[in-house]
């Protein structure tokens, strides 16, 4: 589903991604780990289409199409979803209006019939229940006054409502206590499907106990230096990122 070839990206004067190669197939869960500053979040944002990062080399194929040539809203409509590490608060726009606007914008893009108010409310109720959220939150402004945990849950709620094909979770576990973590993980796991690919960007191994990955890749200084299965994550937890320094060439991830 996703093929990243030799991706280089910079922010202002700094080159952050220095040649990323990654293939993600439908139905797979990939974890991307790495020390601070390795470029994990940058990779997530470049996939989503953030304009502050400049891609200087390489290409990204999403379902065979050139992802880098697509606008942000196009990528979203084509099924790319980034769950943010720090979701923005948007005062004055209700969660409800926002979700309906997003849902119907995507349907419109595909020429599908728009969801009616009644259908929308039903769908929303189901998903709110799934994530153990308070339905009153939906009338409040997007993320306004939400705790860290509630914001993260709101991201997963959006994912459940929009049903993306490629979901990228950017440090979804940061700032969550164990209970919130379980709820978020359950939500993500319920969205696993053979048609869907999930990339989990995380610093700590803990989340991967709940969202068990098929593949684990380690990012360091803008490159993937090691790839393996879930046991790699455990090895990292045990030894820390330092042990990777001994590797002299970057691995090509698959």
């Amino acid at each position: 589903m996703l093929e990243i070839k030799n991706l280089h990206a910079r922010s202002e004067d700094r080159e952050i991604l220095r040649g990323i190669n990654l293939s993600v197939g439908a139905g797979e869960v990939h974890a991307i780990m790495g020390p601070n500053g390795s470029g994990k979040s940058t990779l997530a944002h470049v996939l989503a289409g953030r304009e502050d990062y400049e891609v200087t080399e390489g290409e990204i194929l999403y379902e065979g199409k050139d992802l880098l040539g697509m606008e942000i809203e196009e990528r979203a409509a084509e099924g790319v979803f980034l769950a943010y590490q720090y979701p923005v608060e948007i005062s004055g726009v209700s969660n409800k209006y926002f979700l309906k606007a997003a849902l119907n914008a995507i349907r419109k893009y595909h020429g599908h019939p728009l969801v009616s108010r009644a259908e929308f409310v039903e769908l929303l109720k189901e998903n709110i229940k799934l994530l153990g959220m308070d339905k009153n939150m939906m009338d409040r402004s997007v993320n306004e006054g939400f705790s860290g945990g509630e914001k993260k849950r709101n991201e997963i709620l959006q994912m459940a409502m929009l049903q993306p094909k490629l979901a990228i979770l950017d440090e979804t576990d940061s700032g969550l206590d164990i209970d919130a973590l379980k709820v978020v993980a359950d939500g993500v796991n319920s969205l696993r499907s053979p048609e869907r690919a999930i990339i989990v960007v995380t610093h700590y191994q803990r989340l991967l106990d709940y969202i068990v990955p098929d593949y684990v890749h380690v990012l360091a200084e803008g490159k993937i230096v090691r790839s393996g299965d879930k046991s790699l994550a455990l090895e990292l937890e045990d030894k820390g990122y330092a042990f990777l320094q001994t590797d002299s060439e970057p691995a090509t991830a698959n």
Partner: protein, 440 residues
Amino acid sequence: MIATEVNSFQQQSAQFQQQQLATSPNWLRDLRRRGLDRFVQLGIPTTREEDWRLTNLAFLAGRPFEITSPDLTATFGVEELVQRATLDEDFHRLVFVNGHYADQWSTHHELPAGTVVENLSTSIRNSSEATGKRLGLQAEDEQTSFVALNAAFLHDGARIDVPADTVVERAIHLIFLAVGEGQTAQHPRNLITLAKNSRATVIESYFGGEGEDYFTNAVTEVELAEAADLDHHKLQHEERSAVHLATTQIHQQAHSRFRSHYFSFGGSIARNELNCVLDGEKIECTLNGLYMPKGDQLMDCRTRIDHTKPHCNSYEMYKCILDDRARGVFNGKIFVHQDAQKTDAKQSNQSLLLSDDAIINTKPQLEIYADDVRCTHGATIGELDEQAIYYLRSRGIPADLARTMLIFAFANDVVQGVEVPAVRKHLEAVLLSDRGLPDV
């Protein structure tokens, strides 16, 4: 100050006093004369005065604005304006055309015992002495040019008197309409007096006939006795070529509560001044405003809150959305007097610039003479939040809709602070047609 500047006003005044001779008590003629003298003395403010630096009204000198006679047979277009202005048939409603009370368009519902909602010239006729004493209580001492000019031409407006321990459930809606040919002027004077422990809701609406070129100079005096509660709204929908000047003076006694909601959409130049004196302990004063100049409009919002005694709270939130080549001005003054310990004053002014040519000038002004207070003020000027736009787009929402959502959200914030459903609905409709949130 050049004598010729105020000539046309002096002539108008002489004519006016002559017309009113038969029906005006002595005190009123004196009040008008004092007003004119003061206006002549002060003249039209020039841009050399700090408070008028950004709002140039020099052109008023040359304009032959006329005070119309209360001849209401020339009322073409009034019905349509009344319809546009009406918010709720359940409200008490006083309609004024070119500054004159028009009973045929007004609506009277039953009022609680002792409550008075009538037009000022009736009050002057029927309770001359009491009205005379009440007038100018708030406005006399600090007569600025235009308050003085309003006094010079004082004859009508609204008088609202609520006795102690009384709640007026229905809102009181004052509608000021300008119609007719030629350049007209109106100087309404409104008196709102709430006695101890009373409560009322007042709405002032200003509308004008299409294409009319007129001058509104309104003065509202508010007296809130101990524990009185007033919810006050102002909807400024003047015609695009009109000049709208308004001064509202509020005097609050202990434990009283005042909430002001100001919405400005019209006029070529609109300037609104709100001066509140908190003269007691445990007073609450909330001033909210939303002004949206576009085209070549100039909107100037001034507020002043005097904390003279301890333990009072004031809260101010003014938002401005500017487009095209519009200009906005905000000056929020807060004076915390020496005795006003434990004052809690918050002031916030936010502006959204939607075009490169729009200009906003904002000046928060805090003078604090007490040492145990909490005063915060913030002024932000910006464009739409890029992070928010990005977030919305990353969920599939097209950039245009994302921008519309954020602009609406910015303005809607102030609208949602209005507690009267009919007023809120009206404002939501105005916002929607202007900066609409489409059905999604």
